[in-house]
Symmetry: C2
Subunit: 363 residues, 2 copies
């Protein structure tokens, strides 16, 4: 990310301060600090002021790095970041300060209040998360790259016979992870799920020592992180030549529901309506009780972020919002299927970033 | 961890409730929930009551897992864990509830207060973290195992010629990580640091594409996680046959300071005094400004936890507290040395868990 992009983001946040009647905002959620400055260290806080005098605070470990990554913001090197920035706001004559009440702990707020008792603290709400939901094209490029790494890793894994009977789930997961890192991922997006046989019915199964057998479903849910941006994809394969009727039935059902969910992605579409487009198909097929989670979520600097696609999710989609679409059907004790893509909402229909086929792969 | 161990831990927390004049505590910090129940899922909260009617809440993904891992506690499957447990406390006739004010966000507290306006909420402070600082022997066994994995991984890496000129830092880090996983680590404890040449002067360097050269310091800070428990060790090696005088000087200095720090570990020793035992040696040698962090920290279910060993750290050590001892000297632009062990405070002197030699290794 470049300085100008970060500066534009701070300006967008600044534009929201007036509605809060606050001349400044204290941003302490680290991923939000990164988004607004480019600083990637593990400790940082940011004061964004209506008059443009923004200040980034971090500790002594990050003197050099913060200067390199956030050259266009004043930097302050301190130990206690929240109180030093609150003091800075007071010194600038501000009597009100917006803060991230969804991130700041009760003790953290008490420390700031004790240090600056005259300062009126009001919630910034999730203003930065809201801004982050809409990506700029540079961010989408990074997501595209992260998705391409995941696509290529799975393709290579399958081509190398890496998903086969006789291997443990953990071996397959490590193989997939190593391929993503070899292909340039800086990290995996989250703990890779490889769930085989009956384990595939567990939505979030941690890969273990189960040995994959012929006829198993193998559900792989994984992603690559590239320059901070996360990809997210699930594919469910079958081992061996024969696919049981029940496997084919739920695979085709989930694939159809997933298609309907993708097709519902549109600028101004209600988030709950997108969820319903896929869910109704599964409910109508009599498997509603076997689909126990939401349809998807935004993805970017966090693997799960706004917007949320669920049955009761508020809000609407907008242009340049990347989201996942990932319905599933899970039959306890037998097996389950989830199919997930990462896509970007666009005016002329969603852009698919995860390009691996969704035809049932028999390996 | 077994049910009886978890039950004994809840009893120790229960004993603290009287001092808070609270008949119940709401534990929402996930690692604390794990410590007090054995439940390892990603979403859980626990109500600990003075009368012993404890309740674990989690969501529908963890019905089976919570029953297996925490069979001796009543379990509640819900979506909003904090408010449902607060309601439970009210239903039990309690008018005061202790909560983790260092973990609960301002919004989280507001939600509980709105749901149960008659409930008096008081801080539990870091009571569970305080309990966790002193390990039982079963926990120390897991730490010993985690440390042994890290020792063996480094030994194997060096024996295989894995730390050598021509490799990138990232390649060495991935090799070390793979060896820990092969040896039974469930994960690495934290992002492995491999910092070569001038990068070794950066205390927390992220391994990158720098190619290791002859004569480099290579600082490796890494650990294995085993059954949830983290090991932490740093060794600084030299590449090639010749060691420069400045390298030998700071290596010997850090090794001596580290020895003094280890020798200061004792039951009832002041945490700040342990820090001083090592720091004074470095300051006396004129390198005080090149040692920019604390001496060490507790280690267990978290890689960094109580107690803290620093210049201004409060408190004293106790029997069965595992801690790291990790002084360093960093010469910007040239290189740096850190030497770190994990040890357990014992009445008859500290028990060393990381057994790799601290003689200067030339590879």
């Amino acid at each position: 990310m470049s300085g100008p992009a970060a500066a534009a983001r701070r300006d967008r946040l600044r534009a929201r301060l007036a509605a809060l009647d606050a001349p400044a905002a204290l941003v302490t959620r680290l991923v939000n600090v990164r988004y607004l400055t480019g600083f990637t260290g593990s400790n940082g806080a940011l004061l964004v002021c209506a008059d443009g005098t923004d200040v980034l605070a971090t500790d002594g470990r990050y003197i050099t790095q913060s200067a390199q990554e956030a050259p266009d913001v004043e930097r302050l090197i301190e130990r206690r970041l929240d109180t030093v920035l609150a003091a800075r706001a007071v010194a600038a004559g501000h009597t009100r300060l917006a803060y991230e009440s969804h991130e700041v702990t009760v003790d953290g707020l008490a420390a700031v209040t004790a240090a600056e008792p005259g300062l009126g603290l009001v919630s910034l709400e999730q203003a930065v998360e809201d801004l982050r939901a809409v990506k700029d094209e540079a961010e989408i490029d990074l997501l595209r790259r992260a998705c391409a790494i995941a696509d290529e890793a799975l393709s290579d894994l399958i081509a190398a016979g890496g998903v086969r009977a006789g291997r443990t789930e953990r071996e397959v997961a490590r193989d997939l992870d190593a391929r993503m890192l070899d292909l340039g991922a800086e990290a995996v997006s989250f703990e890779t799920i490889v769930a085989s046989g009956p384990n595939s019915a567990i939505p979030h199964h941690s890969p273990g020592s189960r040995v994959i057998e012929g006829g198993d479903f193998v559900k792989c849910d994984f992603g690559a992180t590239y320059s901070g941006y996360h990809s997210d994809m699930t594919r469910t394969l079958v081992i061996g030549g024969a696919v049981a009727d029940w496997q084919r039935e739920i695979y085709d059902l989930v694939a159809d529901a997933q298609r309907l969910g993708r097709e519902a992605l549109a600028v101004d579409a209600e988030c709950a309506g997108v969820d319903a487009a896929a869910r109704d198909r599964i409910v109508d097929a009599g498997h509603g009780e076997h689909y126990t989670h939401g349809l998807g979520h935004g993805v970017g600097l966090e693997i799960h972020e706004a917007p949320w696609l669920g049955a009761t999710a508020p809000g609407r989609l907008g242009d340049r919002m990347p989201v996942t679409v990932e319905p599933g059907v899970y039959l306890e004790g037998r097996g389950g299927v989830r199919i997930e893509d990462t896509l970007v909402v666009r005016p002329d229909g969603p852009e698919l970033l995860t390009l691996t086929t969704k035809d049932l792969l028999i390996v």
